[in-house]
């Protein structure tokens, strides 16, 4: 966990910056859009990585929690006229509670049961959540319109949306917040210790079950935070969050487990990559193929390299 930025990481940053400059000249919209989308991917991937790194559970219901957050924001808006920006606190808290409840009812009981049981139970949770949403709100797409989310500005003759830069801001804030939490607080140090060695942590008096509960609740709360800011820009339907599970996993795998900074970098890299593919005429359908193609390549290279060691 939390390896300091290595030489390789600086190299990656350098390559990313060079690629960004080149793309910036060639297709500035792709660059801007890529950074915005990539930051969003990173905000959503960070909590998945946290749960995977500390609890060792790959949460396949990750995207469904995102959907729950979207619907919560939508309900607050349509029923009570609450602006999405004002929903930030209540929805984040609500998702923390949902996360804690789901943890206590399910995840807690499969922590020692092996990865297959964990995958199956989180997959089950994802189905339960999406079916529940379908039965309450039907499959009809919903939306929340706010004028500010479509504001744009023109810079050097390039016109682009400004709202989605919020994603970058939030990504950096969440990342810095998490790093400070892990390094500077007692609970954070306990979390870091549990991530490395749960048995060692319990020997020094750390309440490991509480750390697991807290990390799960915190992670789902971050998912809730992300969902609020997505709502003004996306259409809300029962499967709206689903694709983000695998995207988050892709970023976590690319960054390497425990490398939180790497997730933001990987997110931006893949965001730009995706935007470039989309900018190529006829390329729009290919972005997911490219996204997961890169993932498979990265995982395979890593597996082969580790195999040689």
């Amino acid at each position: 966990m939390l390896a300091a930025a290595s030489k390789k990481q600086y190299l990656f940053i350098a390559l990313l910056v060079i690629a960004a400059i080149v793309i910036g000249f060639w297709e500035p919209h792709a660059l801007i859009y890529g950074i915005q989308r990539g930051s969003l991917y990173a905000v959503i991937a960070l909590p998945l990585a946290l749960i995977l790194g500390i609890l060792g559970v790959l949460n396949l219901a990750h995207g469904e929690f995102l959907t729950v957050g979207m619907y919560a924001t939508f309900v607050l808006f349509s029923r009570f006229g609450v602006d999405p920006m004002l929903s930030t606190v209540p929805v984040t808290l609500l998702l923390a509670v949902v996360g804690v409840a789901v943890y206590l009812l399910t995840i807690k009981h499969v922590l020692k049961a092996g990865h297959l049981s964990q995958l199956l139970i989180t997959f089950g949770i994802s189905l339960v959540i999406s079916e529940l949403i379908k039965s309450i709100y039907t499959t009809q797409p919903r939306g929340v319109f706010t004028t500010y989310s479509y504001s744009s500005t023109t810079l050097a003759g390039i016109r682009f949306g400004t709202y989605e830069f919020l994603y970058l801001l939030i990504a950096v804030a969440v990342l810095v917040g998490l790093q400070l939490f892990l390094k500077k607080t007692r609970l954070g140090q306990a979390t870091f210790a549990v991530g490395q060695n749960p048995r060692g942590a319990s020997i020094v008096g750390i309440n490991v079950s509480f750390v697991y509960l807290f990390v799960f609740g915190l992670s789902i709360a971050i998912v809730g935070l992300a969902s609020v800011f997505m709502v003004p820009r996306v259409s809300i339907f029962p499967g709206a969050g689903t694709p983000y599970t695998m995207k988050s996993f892709a970023l976590t795998a690319m960054a390497g487990l425990g490398n939180l900074n790497g997730i933001l970098l990987a997110g931006i890299a893949l965001g730009i990559f995706e935007a470039v593919v989309n900018a190529i005429p006829g390329g729009s359908g290919w972005s997911d193929v490219v996204f997961f193609g890169v993932l498979i390549l990265v995982i395979m290279t890593r597996a082969i390299r580790e195999g040689r060691r």
Binding site: S202, V204, I206
Partner: protein, 235 residues
Amino acid sequence: MLEVKNLDVAYGRIQVIWNLSLNIGNNEVVGVFGPNGAGKSTLINAIVGVVKAKSGEITFDGVPIHNQETHTIARGGIVVVPQNRELFPAMTVKENLRLGAAYIPHARAKMDETIEYVYSLFPILKEREKQLAGTMSGGQQRMLVIGRALMSRPKMLILDEPSLGLQPSLVTEMFQILNRIKQDDMVILLAEQNVRQGLKVIDRGYVMENGRIAMEGSIEELSEDEHIRRAYLGV
């Protein structure tokens, strides 16, 4: 101080410890000797709550602890030095040591004082305080894990084969250090295969075989026993 009564421990259907009783008094250093697979580590795991007893009772200062979780037992004053070390490899030596005290209220208050004590026992840890624990040699890691346990200011220290895998010169050094810790009035439960060295530290000992206590006695009784002389001391 610690009392184990009629303890049975099983992993699934396989019973590892059978009706075991032992006790450790105040200011006592007690050895548990036995070959690999005798159940020494399982006994320790049961005492510190890593495995749950099937039946029987474990009390510490009169309080039953067999249903408590490991972290509660640690806060209550029993700290273990596990055989496979269980360090935090991505943290520095000093961070590992500080973690030993950080989550135990009475130890946290004396953290700086205790760290000096640990450094006096293991000067190498001071030299390497900024090194990552995962990059140290096996012997140094063993010292670190003992240091981390001392940081918790335990009432009782449990050591699971502290000499395992160490080179001979380090084994001697390790037992010298254990003697120093003993002189600082620490209650110790020492599980060992190295009976010859172990006898230099303990006040009293048990011999475990196949999950049962095979023998109990003072240093003299143990070192003069014919079976122990042949099986463990190679005489």
